[in-house]
Symmetry: C2
Subunit: 149 residues, 2 copies
Amino acid sequence: MNDHREQIAHFEETCRAHGLKITHQRLQIYHVLLQSAEHPSAEALYKELVRKMPTLSLDTVYRTLATFEELGLVKRVETIGSQARFEAKIEQHHHFFCDGCGQLKDFIWPSFDAMGLPEELQEVGQVREKNVVLHGLCRQCLNSERNSP
Amino acid sequence: MNDHREQIAHFEETCRAHGLKITHQRLQIYHVLLQSAEHPSAEALYKELVRKMPTLSLDTVYRTLATFEELGLVKRVETIGSQARFEAKIEQHHHFFCDGCGQLKDFIWPSFDAMGLPEELQEVGQVREKNVVLHGLCRQCLNSERNSP
DNA sequence: TTAACTGCAAAACATTTGCACAACC
DNA sequence: GGTTGTGCAAATGTTTTGCAGTTAA
């Protein structure tokens, strides 16, 4: 049970600081992103939200996500899929991607975070972010594979 | 000077094993992917190849890449961009992504490869691949930023 | 010869943009 | 009140597909 009060406050402050209006749509989109562990696509967010806000349009979701990304309120997740996916999480974490169902799960790995990078990278450039991406099969997909091979 | 003779042989063998024809288009597309360090998109490959093969079509490039991916001859690279990018490399390696110019560089990190994963992941599922993705600015972008801030 | 492949054109899918009305400050 | 945001519709960009002629085996 996490109500994300702090993040909502930070969101409102960030909007004000940039002269952006705190609209119902923006609040709701940010709210769903905070609640969700699913790293939803723009379309998934739209489908979720349009049930409560029937006049919402998909392009508003796209525009809002682009705005949030610029403000650093959400991040676009690296994927090999055709649809972009987003998350509102701020803490350092990593991703496990299930190749069976497309599910994306977060995990933390403090001992990796503490590791230094290989020296050869100094020549390549300056690193701002360092993340691990795992691919494999989640529990559910492993089970259904066993049942119907 | 690497002529990738072995990989070409493996490519031809894989095609034969699956009853696929070794066409000029497939050979050339695979060849450019082997040579390239740029992780090109379908469009980039097309632009490169159409100069020597004026009748080549973009959809053939897409179809060929999809086929190669199924055969495990090429991999789709994880990105946040709108175009998919591909690589033919087989050895274990990782990616540095320049947020300035979109360039993608490979690097190796044997001590990371040797590391075990956090235990909590056993519950999540079975891991097949484990990669690091770095984001930052490459040398060139750092320099041009310094010159025109 | 014959099954597989390519190029063309058109469709499908994901995302962005121009404009007029609506909502926030 | 004035600026910013939204919804609509249409445009753009990326990838996929159906079909008929072409090519490798």
